[in-house]
Symmetry: C2
Subunit: 893 residues, 2 copies
């Protein structure tokens, strides 16, 4: 027998593991061990490590042979700490069996409670607790849960037996059932299981235990878990741990309770205990959202106008112990904790602690305040914010003066506002969102089966459930606004409508929700831009101080340029000049240019566009002042500018004086088999030099204009798209230099600019050393570089991308996160070679990847000078770049 | 003054340079120096090096400052050797000024003869030669040529003066004009130049000399020269040298002559002196093809049935001297020489020698015979054959029993046979060839202006000119069959027809030419396959012995496979299974498969294709025996198989039982924006596994069939197209292995095969180490690899490829010769990494580049295991691979 340790015990003030072993023990197991070592009241138990899960999954659901003995040994220790014996008829130990991975996957996996009960031990429990009704209620709960989770017997069949028993007995509510009722029901339950499976329900507690452990490991590979992992980038090989722990009972009468709490408000970040509890209930009752729970503190109760007493009022002694634990845990972990606890007859038990999920707003507030409290450093604060979560803060909220009537008020479960069409099923949400429509998913309550729909929806509304219900937790994690627990919301799924306050809202009607206030409003309400001050400003200041890379933006309209600058953009990394050609007046001149058969004709049409382009650049330069502006010359194939609809063709024919036939013929001549690989980018610039000459002239004239107007010389970088060879750059550089000379000769104003190129073709990356001879800067166009490196057209990939993701060919969509093993190699090669050839070459990235935190981390590792992204992703990029720099410094140090 | 030497003298038995300085002095200059040192009679002269040309071109047409003095010095030496003085009225030295680059560019550049004449020296020439008519004829030739070449005065204006003078004097032929006539004409010529230019014709010989030197250097950059260089891969930076040489006169009466000769027959390779001469003529008269020249030897005259005496008969003493020179030169250079000579009043002068151009057939015969004669080694013989030239030998010749009547007989100027439509202009030839039609270009004579049309034509016919005329030389160089000098061929360009032997042939009529016999035939004659024995077989045997790489073929029809095997293919490198789907019966089943909405529908249609595919592979395996056969599974996007024409759509709708609308909708759904980068290759194999399963089943079944039939196990390699990731190969490898297991289980026959992939995407090349985990071999698909590395669609590149070539962005078309700096890097990376991961990985190439000698050389340098090319290029690849191996060994040694 090898010495490998698969099972880790805890309880009684000691533990085999600790919080640092999260990868091995899962978050729950590691923190139970940590709490136990801290001397907190943790029911004793043990953890089967994630390595067991991996072995079990790989080896046809069998365990390493040492596991059996280690479990047996650990179980003995639990018996010792608990002072009870597993399967003992007089003094039975009952246990819970729960999953617990490295990353939280709320509600995704299976749990079994009250394990160890059978016809003998139930009597022991009855005697010990002095509550026969409680013992048989626990027994029937166990049978039902175990049968569902481990044996695969449908949950509803048990509900039917229960309902029938109540009907026959004339009883309405479960609480009216007495010990005898439950005992009778238990008999029926056991008979049901034997009938369904052909074998009796397992009565041996050890058999029960192994059945439950296996079922929890199996649930790692169930469909819900797979979807969740895919959505959250959780690798399958992480596995889950299994925690087996002595049961404590929150449902042992009025001095018992169970609850969940946060050490601070996870929605706002405010420093106030926050949570919910239920008297005489088991933990799952709170999370499931079936009973509406009570507030933790008196202040919260009063604020919400609840009538039922808060825990602070109902169980003041235990509450005082609990707040001490809160403070101890927060100081110990230096982070807001999300806690589960149970009170068994006035005795407090801690069942879980973990860093709590929070909204982006709360995340910022907590991080900044903890710095001020001296709990964490600025460095920790910056690293603690998930960059993508900032997205929640950057989008509009309800405008102060909006006039939409409030239809209903529920719990403010996840902040932010959203407008969309009402849908009543997750599938419908996915369908409409796929068509580009914004939807609000309205459900009685949500379950793990709704995950895909919640992801697709712009916002979520539920009739049931509290602030820690499934809907609330998941919506906050996804950054979706959510309103929960609107008690008087009546949903009629068949009629596809809901009624609230006497008003009927039908599927397809537009509503607005305000997740920060818990409001549901009729119609589409006016929104307003977010304020980026306060904690946001403080934290971003710390981030900026740690950041090495510059953040630029991809923008060309004055509005987008201004937005990006307000968000902290330090330059324009990509101004796509072709986007400027689609205005009504311009497209006509552009088409005239394209359709011209001669250079003279083209030059004439370009002369019409010149003043408009000049004005475009003038506006941009005014806004950006001395910040660098990278302007990419015309890139797309000319065919993209031509009309396609017959009516448009007719209008263009009239405008250009061409016959429709001739126009169609010219348009047909421009059609390409693979336009992505066709006559575009600098290939156009070389074939039709007059186009780039016009654009360059406009840029230089704008520079002259702004200089005359403000005295500031715009920081211009002219960028050539789709270069594959040094020669292309040599030719175009000399043409641009000639335009500058002409301007200088004519006006006495000498344009200043850098000349550079995009690297978006594998050849350009491989030959970057040669291209650098002509190029002062390079910007990696990772969209096209990904397309060419994979030989994969983004426009055409949808037909098989799903298959590729589900079969694991792609771990991530390469158009979202840089493919480091392929595309990344080309970036690394180009970086190395261009720097070798031209040490001061400026390097950046301007594809969609420029706003993706994982890709930004890669760019930092490569030592690029900047990333450029869309305006709304600028703050995300600022934070991600800061974190990347910190991690890099940490690695270097 | 620096010591750099720009000017190299020769003559009088010594020389500054020698044959090894060909790059510096050009071929002509280097060989004049060499001949002079050998003691052969070379008129004294000097060479301005190619470096002067480069400096002159780079520095706005100015010379390095030392050049003037060096020319002056060299000219003095020429005067000394010749015993005459430049510009001396009594004893004038006249010179020729000619271009001469590293590579021969016949007729492309300018020449000036008789330079140094003016109103004073002409009298000296008259006195010295004792022939006043000759002197003034020379003078008027000089004025005309110099004015045309240096001063840009139209040649025709001089012809008008001459014609008018003849009309007024009642004279028909030039020979009837006497000294006074020429003197009067000279006066008119000089007046014409002054009138046209506003300044007098330069009378100072030194001015004349610098004018001529500049004009020759300028002609390096003229349009004709640019086109020629582009066609022949001659870099612009090679430059041309200029040779200034004392004039000798072949037109000084009946004991004077001029001629060109080959030391062996350049058409057949036969060891016999071969050439032409003209009595009382200057050298340009022979090359220009205006007078039909006389044979060199008596035997040749008799064979051709000429009446005019051969040189052997007319000038027996000089002929004997000449043949001694021939033998001396061939022994000295160890190669067949192409010689220009002049006889001035019984004195032999050598004006040029160089290795002679020859047909592929002659090339082989000469090389093999020289080995047998002990002149060169087998190694030299193999290296001396231009692989691409073999193409001439591999195509059909006229079948022995063909029945087409002979329309006319001319000179057998370039061997091989061709059939095509008659055209009368180079432009028309280009136009029709561009439409895929085969054409025969018929011209009175050809000039450098016709180059593009000669390239486009399948064969060339001229009415005028001899075996060394422009048409003959160029046609042999290009490998086009050519019949020259059909004296009774009357061309009426206006009516677009020609008449010969009373028959009229119109533009568009089909004729056949036999360039080996000099025949023009009516209609399309039957052709037969070439014999690949004799010298061809001998030389290829030597080549094969030196070769390291294997040569395979890209083929899938039994006929192509057989042809390739006959040509020496050692395996199939690429069997494109999709080509097998286009037969009438198959395309219907293929379309049914594509249009099926379900896997069941697809499987049903595939079941119809299975027996046909099995039969295809069976036939191929029968032919190839134990040679390896790489079979690529389905690659192109499904859309390619669907009908497009409305009538076809209707027929397919009937056949498949779909409505036309539904069929069109399905077809539309399959359309892609960039099909090259779309749902194709192994992406299809992963989305629709049933397709590859059917193909694999067919391959294995065929292997079983052939094994049962012949006892031989086909050497099968299954190749996956368009892989980008290792995971794709992992998935497909396991599916194919499952098919093999099924076959084995059902039939007891265990298929044997290698599993491998194409590397045709940059990512696959970069990640080849990972892909090699699943792949026993890789084949570089350089077509697609070039497309993706450059981001350049081959189908769309035509719109700007011309611009890219002419502006020097591409030195060579990257779809013809591997782009070593870009694509080549990826091949090198993939080779290195795949070998590191799997040392026995088999590596080859199967794009179009597999038949390109330059690319084959690159493959040898990379150490690939084989190249694969189209059947007709197999012998070319064998030879190119042998040469590459020899060069590599040489470099290593």
């Amino acid at each position: 027998m090898s010495d490998h340790k698969w099972v880790y015990g805890f309880g009684g003030g000691t533990a085999d593991g600790d919080a640092s072993l999260k990868n091995l023990l899962g978050g729950k197991g590691a923190n139970l061990a940590e709490m136990s070592s801290l001397g907190l009241p943790v029911p004793p138990g043990f953890t089967l490590s994630t390595e067991v899960c991996t072995k079990y999954t790989q080896n046809q659901r069998t365990y390493p042979h040492e596991v059996t003995a280690q479990v047996k040994f650990a179980l003995r220790a639990v018996e010792t700490h608990a002072g009870k014996r597993f399967g003992d008829a007089d003094n039975p130990l009952l246990v819970s069996v729960r999953s617990g991975g490295r990353a939280s996957m709320p509600g995704m996996m299976d749990t079994v409670l009250n394990l160890g009960l059978n016809s003998e031990t139930v009597e022991g429990l009855a005697a010990l607790s002095g509550d026969r009704r409680f013992a048989f209620d626990s027994y029937r709960r166990f049978i039902q849960m175990y049968s569902d989770v481990v044996l695969g017997v449908d949950h509803d069949l048990f509900e039917e037996i229960l309902d029938e028993h109540k009907d026959v007995s004339g009883i309405q509510l479960d609480v009216e059932l007495d010990a005898d009722d439950w005992q009778k029901i238990v008999v029926q339950y056991l008979a049901l299981v034997e009938e369904e499976l052909g074998t009796p329900f397992p009565s041996n507690p050890v058999d029960q235990l192994w059945g439950a452990i296996g079922a929890v490991f199996d649930s790692w590979m169930n469909e819900r878990a797979k979807v969740y992992r895919a959505l959250h980038d959780i690798p399958v090989n992480w596995g889950t741990a299994v925690n087996v722990q002595a049961m404590v009972f929150g449902n042992m009468g009025p001095r018992s309770a169970t609850g969940v709490a946060f050490t601070r408000n996870p929605s706002t970040g405010e420093r106030a205990y926050y949570g919910e509890f239920l008297i005489n209930a088991q933990g799952e009752d709170v999370v499931a959202g079936i009973r509406t729970p009570q507030a933790l503190t008196q202040a919260a109760r009063e604020e919400m106008g609840d009538t039922l007493p808060s825990m602070e009022e109902a169980l003041p002694v235990v509450f005082a112990q609990l707040t001490q634990v809160f403070d101890q845990l927060e100081t110990h972990y230096c982070d807001m904790q999300d806690i589960e606890f149970t009170v068994e007859r006035d005795k407090l038990w801690m069942l879980q602690t973990r860093s709590g999920k929070r909204t982006a707003k709360a995340s910022l507030k907590i991080a900044v305040e903890m710095v001020h409290e001296g709990l964490i450093s600025q460095h920790d604060a910056v690293l603690r914010i998930e960059p993508a979560a900032l997205d929640q803060l950057l989008h509009p909220t309800l405008a102060a003066g909006h006039t939409c009537p409030i239809l209903a008020t529920g719990l403010p479960a996840s902040p932010g506002a959203a407008t969309g069409q009402v849908v009543f099923s997750a599938d419908e949400a996915v369908l409409l969102a796929g068509r580009g429509q914004s939807v609000i998913l309205v459900r009685l309550e949500t379950s793990p089966d709704d995950i895909h729909g919640m992801h697709a929806a712009g916002g979520i509304v539920t009739a049931r459930g509290g602030m820690t219900s499934h809907a609330a937790v998941v919506a906050r994690g996804m950054g979706r606004p959510c309103v929960c627990g609107i008690g008087d919301l009546l949903i009629d799924e068949a009629a596809k409508q809901f009624t609230v306050g006497g008003q009927i809202v039908r599927e397809g009607d537009t509503i607005t929700i305000d997740g920060s206030k818990g409001h549901v409003l009729a119609g589409a309400a006016q929104m307003e831009q977010p304020e980026l001050t306060g904690e946001f400003g403080t934290l971003m200041g710390w981030a900026d101080a740690a950041r090495r890379m510059k953040i630029r933006t991809n923008a060309e309209t004055p509005q987008d340029v201004q937005t990006a600058k307000d968000f902290g953009a330090e330059g324009i990394g990509l101004c796509r000049t072709e986007h400027m050609f689609f205005g009504e007046a311009r497209i006509a001149a552009m088409r005239e240019m394209i359709l011209a058969a001669t250079k003279t004709g083209r030059t004439k049409a370009l002369a019409k566009i010149l003043p408009m382009q000049t004005e475009d650049f003038t506006e941009i330069f005014r806004i950006m002042g001395e910040l660098p502006c990278t302007i990419r010359l015309l890139d797309p194939p000319l065919h993209e500018f031509l009309p396609h609809a017959p009516e448009d063709v007719r209008l263009v024919a009239i405008a250009t004086g061409m016959t429709v036939d001739k126009l169609m013929a010219r348009a047909a001549a421009l059609v390409e088999t693979n336009p992505m690989l066709g006559h575009r980018g600098c290939r156009l610039g070389i074939s039709y030099p007059e186009i780039y000459e016009m654009q360059t002239r406009a840029i230089f004239q704008a520079q002259a204009n702004v200089k005359a107007e403000t005295g500031v010389t715009a920081n211009v970088e002219i960028m050539i798209p789709l270069a594959a060879t040094a020669k292309e750059l040599e030719i175009l550089k000399s043409k641009i230099s000639a335009v500058a000379a002409t301007i200088e000769a004519a006006q006495g104003f000498a344009p200043t600019y850098l000349f550079g190129a995009m690297i978006e073709l594998p050849r350009a990356a491989l030959c970057a050393g040669e291209l650098a001879e002509f190029s002062s800067f390079f910007s990696f166009g990772t969209n096209d570089l990904t397309q060419t490196t994979f030989g994969l057209s983004r426009d055409d990939a949808s037909s098989f991308l799903h298959t590729y993701m589900s079969q694991g060919v792609f771990e991530k969509d390469p158009f979202v996160s840089i493919d480091e093993s392929g595309v990344g190699q080309l970036i690394a090669i180009a970086t190395k070679r261009s720097r070798a050839a031209r040490p001061d070459v400026k390097l950046g990235i301007c594809g969609e990847h420029g706003g993706d935190p994982a890709s930004i981390d890669f760019c930092e590792a490569q030592g690029l000078d900047y990333v450029s992204c869309s305006p709304f992703r600028v703050p995300i990029a600022r934070l991600a770049a800061a974190q990347a720099a910190m991690r890099r410094n940490h690695e270097t140090a």
